[in-house]
Symmetry: C2
Subunit: 411 residues, 2 copies
Amino acid sequence: MKQINLFTKTRREAPKDEVAKNAQLLIRAGFINKEIAGVYSFLPLGLRTLNKIVGIIREEMNSIGGQEVSLTALQDKSNWEKTGRWSDEAVDNWFKTKLKNGSEAGLAFTHEEPLTVLMRDHIRSFRDLPSAVYQFQTKFRNEERAKSGIMRCREFLMKDLYSFNVDEKSHAEFYEKAKQAYIRIFDRCGLGNETYVTFASGGSFSKYSHEFQTLTEAGEDTVYIDEKNKIAVNKEVLNDEVLADLGLARVTLVERKAVEVGNIFSLGTKFSDALGLNYKDTEGNAKPVIMGSYGIGPARLMGTVAEIWSDEKGLVWPESISPFAVHLIALFNESGTVRKEADELYKKLIAKNIEVLYDDRDCQAGEKFGDSDLIGIPIRYVISEKTLKDDSIEVKDRRTGKVEMVKLGSL
Amino acid sequence: MKQINLFTKTRREAPKDEVAKNAQLLIRAGFINKEIAGVYSFLPLGLRTLNKIVGIIREEMNSIGGQEVSLTALQDKSNWEKTGRWSDEAVDNWFKTKLKNGSEAGLAFTHEEPLTVLMRDHIRSFRDLPSAVYQFQTKFRNEERAKSGIMRCREFLMKDLYSFNVDEKSHAEFYEKAKQAYIRIFDRCGLGNETYVTFASGGSFSKYSHEFQTLTEAGEDTVYIDEKNKIAVNKEVLNDEVLADLGLARVTLVERKAVEVGNIFSLGTKFSDALGLNYKDTEGNAKPVIMGSYGIGPARLMGTVAEIWSDEKGLVWPESISPFAVHLIALFNESGTVRKEADELYKKLIAKNIEVLYDDRDCQAGEKFGDSDLIGIPIRYVISEKTLKDDSIEVKDRRTGKVEMVKLGSL
C-alpha cells in the first residue's frame, strides 16, 4: 500500500484521557480510535493486525476440528433466565435494551446459552458428537471501569469456542487439544515466552480452569509463576492444598502482574442440564452433553503485544501480526531517480506477494523515520540517493536496530 | 469438508412462525438460525456464503480505493445530537442502552456521525483528499416488524462506504465509480439481470439518490422499470417532472415489487457542516468536505439470492457465492469399493483447491439427494457402485438438472 493513500495520520501526543500505554501508542500510530471509554474503532493498520491475529486463531481452531459460526449480539432473555444469568444481580455487566414491542433484549457478553439452545436442533445421538463450534463475534460488557485501552473493553471482538462431548473422558481429551492450540496461538503471536498456563478457579464442575496469563505490569491479575515448569497459579486460588495438588513449592514461585489473554473452562452439564441439551447414547438413553468453553480476545491480545513489544519510539510488531511485512521508505531527490527506483522496487515486492507499506509521501526524512518507528513494521527498507550510489538499499530490523546494506539485485 | 463433520442437520419443515421463503429455506438447509424475530445467527454453510459475498464486495471496494476500518456499535450521543439524529422522534429505530455511570449509549444504525468525527483527526488539507473509507460491521435497527427473514433484520451485517471529496465535481466522479462497482457486485453475486439502478429521493443535497432494486415478489418496495434502458424509478418519487427529467415515458414503465439491495447517497456538507469536518484548500481557506455514503447489506443480498435462486426442492446457489463448489455424494456399498474411490476423489479435489462438501454419511441415497437439493451447491458429483462399473461419476447441474457421466480419469 502506498502511504500517500493511507488516510490515517500519526500523532505526536496521545489524547490526555488515555492512560494505557497500549492505547496511547496505537492511537498515536493510527491503529485505533477511541469512541467512548472502553470502546475503540479499528483503523486500516489496526484492522490489518487484528485480522492477522484472527487468521492465526482461526487456523488453530480449524486444526482441532472447530466449525465456524456467527451468533448474534441481541439476546432473548428466556434462555438466560433458565440458567440464572439474566438478572443484574447474577451478572453485573449486562447491556440491556428494548425491542419496539417493549420486550427486553440483552447484548451478549458470552454465548453459552444461545449456542446450547441452537445445538438442541442438531445433536440427537452419540453419532453427532463430539462437536466443537466457534466464532469471532462482538461481545458487550458493561464494565465499571475501562482504563486499560484495548485490553479491557466494553465492546470487543472475542473468539469463543464451545465443545460438546459424550463423556468426561472425551471432553478431557478435547480440552487438552484446545489447551495446546492456545499455547500455539500465543506463541505464533509473539507472546510465547511471557505467557503461562495458569491454574485458576474451576467453578462447580471441575477443580481448575486454565487461564493464559501474559506477564506485564499493565495486567490486572496477580499470578505466581514457576519459571522452570512454565506454569502459574492465579493468586485467587493459591493455597497450600493447591500447591500440594500441583506439586509446586511456595518458595520457587515468583509473584508477577499479568493479563489474562485467554481462558478455558470445563462446563460439565451446567448448561445442557438447564437448557435440555441431551443426546441418545448407544442404548437409546437420553444423557446430558458435556460442554467446555474456550475464549480469546483478539484485541486484548493485540493490546498485550503493544504493551510488551514496544519501546520509547513506538510499536515493535512480531512479523506474524504486523500490518505489513516491510516498510519501504523512499527519500526522494530532485532528479527523480530515487522515486523511479523506489516505485520499481515497490512493484517487485507486490509482485512477490510481500505486504509492503511504501512511504511515498513528500515529507522530510525525519518525519518518515519517526512515523516508521512509531508504526513498528519489523523490517524497514530505506532507499535514497546515497544508497543508490552503491546500488543498494538499507535494511533495518525494527527490534534489534541492526542495519545492513543490501544490493538491489540480491534482494 | 466431510459432511459427517458438519454439525448442522437439515429439516423437513421450517419453524411455523417463519413466513419468509428465504428464511424458511435457509433454516431448513442449516444455513441460519433464528434467535429472535429479525435476529439470525449464521451457521457454517451460511457463514461460508456470507463470507463469499463479503469477499466480492471487499474486492470491489478496494478496486475503487476504499480503505477498510471497523467502527463500533456503541455510540456516544453527543455527536448524534449535533446532527439532530439522536432523538427517537427524528430516528425511530434506535436501540439504546445505558453505561454503568448512567450515561446513554446508542447502538449504531449507520455510521456517518462517528466516521465524520474520526476523519477530523486525519483530514487537514486538500492533499488528504479524496478519501474513501468502508467497513463490514453489525448494524442495529429497532424495526417495528421483521417478517422478511434475513432481508430485513434488527441486527445485520452492513458494508458501508463513505467518501470524502474537495468539491462536487470530484464527488460526482467517485459516486459514478461507486455506482459501477455496485453494478459489478450484484452481477457477480448472480443478481445482475434482476437488479435495476433505481432513481429515488435525494434528500436535501442532491436531486436523486440511487437504489439498487432487485425484482422479486418478496420485496417491500414498488418500482417502475424501463427494461430497455435497464433503469427504474422508485414509486415514491414517480411523477411527470421526474419522468421528463430522466427522459422516460410512463407507457414503457412496468410496475414491479422489488427489494432494495443497495443504495448510494450524496450527502453534500450535511455531516461535515454539523460536525466541523473541514479541509484547507490550495489558498489556505477552510472548506467543508463533500461526503457520500454507500450501503449494501451482505445478508439481505444473500436472502434475495435465496428468494430468486431457489425451487421447490431448495436453494440453487450461483457458483460465486455457493458455500462449496462441488457436492460429492457417495452411495456406499458393502464391499467398500465406493468409499475407497470416493475418499480418493475427495482428496484429489482438495489437493486441487476445489471446495468440496463430501457426503460421507451412512444414510440412504434418498436422504443424501434430498439434502443436496435443499443445500443447493451448483455441481453435484455422484459416485456409486453403478457409476464405478463404468469408471465414471455422474455430474449434475443443480440449476438445469442436466446430468452427464464423466470418466473418473478425465475429471
